[in-house]
């Protein structure tokens, strides 16, 4: 089959590789009908997530049709149409049972490696480095889905792929980011970063009862899309100081919660950004927390900072004094996709939201390398790419 492989920093290519096969009893093989490039794939592309190996198959946002099931899989059958959450979940451990699916105790075959770095290991993820299990991803014609009886979500009817594809990652990720803000009526939520996750965070914040959402970015088409989602926008290029602007717009109080939908590769123009960039280049710091610092600074007293943006290692100059003095709550982590899938699927089916609004590009799988290049450079108005195998 054809698959998008990570061949090194800034180097992906489409390769012919063997088809996946059933390895464990609860596995299923899915023939992929739609797959996407995620913003978090760019962290891999840019070489910031450790433990990628040359030849790893990328992709963790995909759906398709079951073409084979293992002997231990009693729930799925050949021909089922399924959404495959990017978090691989066993369904049987304490964390899965508690709804903390992305912290599954059992699905990472390389848990010992993750424990060395993080103390304990979270769930395995598709196509997201060996620290997260080394599983082959879904930017391919087929994928092996482990514990498919616990993770894969069956859909009925003929709802188009593009309306439901993002239920495997970015929609639940934006939704969890907003839910983590514990929004109350009248709240103002600031969303830093208007990439696909930021876009879903904006819409989710409104779904969860926010009165105002203020979105911050510097890319015109992203800001336009944020406005279409109902957000007031701040264009970083248009204001002297984002923090002052947020303070003004919230009557000197600050947003009730701040969402960092950017993560470890933030951009900025201050001294701290240059400091991070230099340290990161020298491998003295793995993550650039420019936006995180800003979110902490901007947030109102007693508010919440929510982090859907991915962090992989260490950050410097964390304004802990600020966070402490203002009594902030911080919530973060990989998304517990199966917790949100049923209710968000219902929202899509009932026409409350059509997630396909975020798609700007549709490419054949073979064009994935160009897609990565375009996405990382934000060329051609690129916000979200769907690949067709």
């Amino acid at each position: 089959m054809r698959a998008v492989c990570w061949m090194g920093k800034k180097d992906v290519s489409v390769e012919n590789v063997p088809d996946p096969t059933i390895i464990n009893p609860r596995d299923a093989i899915v023939k992929i009908t739609s797959t996407a490039i995620c913003g978090s794939d760019l962290h891999l592309y840019d070489g910031y997530i450790p433990s990628m190996e040359k030849g790893d198959i990328l992709g963790h946002e995909f759906m398709g049709e079951v073409v084979e099931v293992g002997p231990g899989n009693k729930r799925l059958k050949v021909g089922d149409r399924v959404l495959v959450p990017f978090t691989i979940v066993c369904g049987g451990c304490y964390f899965c049972q508690k709804g903390l699916w992305s912290l599954c105790d059992n699905s990472n075959p390389k848990a010992a490696m993750a424990e060395k770095l993080y103390g304990y290991s979270g769930a395995g993820l598709f196509g997201y480095s060996h620290l997260y299990g080394g599983y082959a991803g879904g930017q391919a014609e087929y994928a092996r889905v482990p514990y498919a009886d616990a993770g894969a979500f069956k859909i009925e009817g003929d709802i188009p792929d593009e309306k439901v594809l993002f239920l495997t990652d970015i929609f639940p990720t934006g939704y969890m980011a907003a839910e983590n803000c514990s929004i109350e009526g009248g709240d103002t939520v600031a969303v830093f970063g208007c990439g696909p996750v930021g876009q879903f965070a904006i819409r989710s914040a409104y779904l969860l009862g926010a009165e105002r959402v203020i979105a911050v970015d510097n890319v015109p088409e992203r800001l336009r899309m944020a406005e279409e989602g109902g957000a007031e926008v701040i264009d970083e290029n248009e204001v002297d100081d984002v923090l002052d602007e947020l303070d003004m717009r919230t009557g000197g109080m600050g947003p009730d919660s701040c969402i960092d939908a950017v993560g470890m590769e933030a951009h900025g123009d201050g001294l701290d950004f240059l400091y991070d960039k230099a340290k990161q280049a020298m491998r003295l710091e793995s993550d650039r927390p420019t936006v995180l610092r800003m979110a902490i600074q901007a947030c109102r007293k007693g508010g919440t900072v929510s982090l859907p943006g991915v962090y992989g290692g260490f950050v410097d100059k964390m304004p802990m004094g600020t966070a402490f003095a203002k009594g902030l709550t911080m919530k973060m982590g990989q998304t517990h996709v199966p917790r949100y899938l049923p209710e968000l699927y219902d929202l899509v089916q009932n026409g409350k939201i059509d997630p396909s609004f975020v798609i700007t590009h549709r490419l054949p799988l073979d064009e994935a390398p160009n897609g990565y290049d375009m996405f990382v450079k934000k060329e051609d108005g690129c916000i979200k790419i769907v690949l067709k195998p």
Partner: protein, 189 residues
Amino acid sequence: MADPVEVNESFTVLKSPEELFAFWRRLENLPSFMKHIDSVENIDDRRSHWRVRAPGGSHVEWDAEIVEEETGRLIAWRSLPGSEIANGGSVRFRPATGNRGTVVEVTLFYEPPGGRAGAGLAKIFGEEPHIQVREDLRRFKQLNETGEIPTIEGQPSGRGPDREKVGGRKKRSAEPAHAAGSRRREVTP
């Protein structure tokens, strides 16, 4: 003779002490999660024959007996006198707090005897025997909570000898990309 080596590890498993005890007490189950054990055969109710893989394709074997047993709570065993390697262990099952299942605590010990067998055993356990034991116990948990042990062995990647580049950035393959085909492409409805 070198000092005895002792390793302690614990894991919390979301099953009852009774279930986990029963799984462990069927000693023939041990090779399913203890990586270096080839087989454990029961000789009678208390005694068993253990066969362990050693480096270089050889095997080390010994007989062991259960020296302490409390149903649902404890199993302790040790090798019989005259074994090449004196070794033993115990596993304890305690109910965890807050409906989290069972805390499984394992202690293993062996006396490196020197000589061939000692060197072999040292290699089996590597330089960090507690990591080996921890991974064995992790597999025990995985098997009992999910019915299988997660693995990526045997999955495809772009590393294999049979991979072939189809397309890179800014240059398209001359042939249609799917010319190489996929065996499932033909069979799926």
